[in-house]
Symmetry: D2
Subunit: 215 residues, 4 copies
């Protein structure tokens, strides 16, 4: 039987009127590619509440793989994240005006969780398809990292047979018409997430390929 | 009778295997949009010889508007250029291994020519269509600026009834798979150049709208 | 008899409380280096009025060389400017709330003037002394370019035996404590302008060395 | 009795002829500031061997605080690191030509360790003194992160009464004369590390101040 991948995207935040993560994953909702079926759910850009909504989505879809997706304004590449860290440190308020500073996400959790996705293989497959991609070593300290950590913590706590991870994506071109920031088209991002979903579903093991960062 | 626009794109240079300018303009060759007909020609990335090839293309197509297009690796926006300057100063060799340093393009020419395209209106129309765009105040000192200057100098010398200008465009995504530079998809660039061609053909006068740069 | 160099710096603009150009040139006021004497004057960041103040400073000091200096927030290098262009296009208001858009600086002036400073030699000398430097091909379209153009236009009109030019400099570190922009220390900028002043006074001819830009 | 701070800096790597971290910390060697005495040691830019050299330096100096310092080419700020992660992933060879890919630093170690320095307070003090600073959420995956992780793992394993952390610093101006990267002067970096050392010695607790990152 085929694998099931749950993709999540956030609602807009920080003054933007769209969030490319939701725009992209909703277009993949219901797709079946290479026997991998994809479902998509929207998550609120809110500390903690985001995790509760994710929890329900996981219960509903019972996925083999969960890939949370978020906007990383300023990045030029699609970037699978390597690690989630146990801290909330908001630079701007979330969508319910919470602005935690240096608060642990889970009091009982470890400092960090590794992504369980084959992040190097995803980067390789994306590049092979002409899509700019690289590994990121920090998902920040806002709601994206929060949700990523909560996802991995939930899987760890429940010993669920789910592989989870997070991918940050650039702005859409329409978000950058008057700011000098990189962007990728919606078509490119959708195709990139399709590749990432299938690659993650079909490959439990990552490849050994350089993808490090000097600093 | 409808207007005729000649678009030109360069062949690849600087180690790249494609040049987004030629990839984009060749897709517009033969199109007729809003009674504006578009022709496209390829230009070699070679000082001086580029101008001779452009000259022949102008004689062949007898356009009302000429828009030369070139790759500006590192830029995030489509950028109509404001001004062409009378100097060649190569940082790398051109495609025939010439590397002029601080040589005037035309001994008898003025220091600079202004674009005759409605550059502010083009930027406005591109943004309205969700395409990142801004005015650039420097086309550099390589073959792009050379061709732009030669185009304007030729029009000036011959008092031809042609309006000319230059637009720089970002890398394609496939050129940036392993370098952290901005890109725009071919579809976005093609649509952007279509808008720029039609806008230039239909509007001789520019709008008065801020588009300056502090430095 | 020794040469005389007039350096000018601007007052703060755009919400900044200091302008590194004035902070730096005022420290060089009265210095005599290698028989080159340096005077410094402050110029208001105001279209046109800046030129009137510069005119008086030139009459007062009767310099052989005039180097106007301005802040280029975001640049990492000290950048001698290659060319001044005949246009005002303000992105923000000047210090008297004027915001000209696409207005010529001098109705009767050419499109552009070249710097008369040995810009390649200045870059070479700065780098030899460990100071980050490169040639810039655009001084923007705000008051910096305005003053640069006015300086060259004044010299051209009066056939004065003065060599003129413009150097843009980065932010000071204290201006970037909470924004991710490059800076250079005041000591480095002062030393760099000292080198530029002496080099400009002692060398009328520039060297032939690559310093171009692809776009 | 006064506190003792050990600062470490690396030897040059990646084709550079100097490493600003060693240039800076060696100038602080032997200083006593506000009853805080500072020692400095050089560390080789080599995976694992760096940790052995650090171990000896700790045994020799018996410090209360250890701050390892490293070059982060491309950054504009001095950046106290928040977290060290348990992975080596080299993008270039280290100084003994080792290039580990996705290897854990310590088989028995946790995924990550938090800095024990008051990183927000350090940033605040640096900014108060006009020095560009911000918190970083990733020390990369090269030798800098390796040493940082090894330091924290050693303290954890031995229950030593030492507080440790890592600070990344920009290039020196002389390293950027012909590349467009930010830099800070040696004087600024030395002053910044002096402030960081004293602040870390005198304050065990951090302040609660925003310093997060969206992504």
């Amino acid at each position: 039987m085929g694998k099931k991948v749950l993709l999540t995207g956030f609602d807009p935040f920080g003054g933007e009127t769209v969030n490319p993560s939701w725009e992209a994953v909703k277009r993949l909702n219901g797709e079946v590619v290479e026997d991998v079926s994809i479902a998509a759910e929207q998550i609120p850009t809110v500390f903690h509440h985001s995790a509760a909504v994710l929890e329900k989505a996981i219960e509903k879809h019972k996925p083999d793989v969960v890939i949370c997706v978020g906007q990383a304004g300023g990045r030029a590449h699609m970037t699978p994240e390597r690690i989630a860290i146990n801290i909330d440190d908001a630079r701007i308020p979330d969508n319910e005006d919470r602005e935690p500073i240096d608060e642990p996400i889970a009091e009982d959790g470890p400092a960090a969780y590794w992504s369980a996705l084959p992040i190097k293989l995803i980067v390789k497959e994306l590049r092979k398809n002409g899509i700019p991609a690289s590994v990121s070593n920090s998902a920040g300290t806002f709601v994206c990292n929060h949700l990523f950590y909560q996802l991995m913590h939930r899987i760890d706590r429940t010993s669920a047979n789910i592989r989870g991870g997070f991918i940050h994506i650039p702005f859409l071109p329409e978000q950058t018409v008057d700011k000098h920031e990189p962007s990728l088209s919606l078509e490119t991002i959708v195709e990139g997430l399709r590749i990432a979903a299938v690659t993650s579903a079909l490959h439990e093991k990552d490849i050994r390929e350089t993808g490090g960062s000097l600093s």
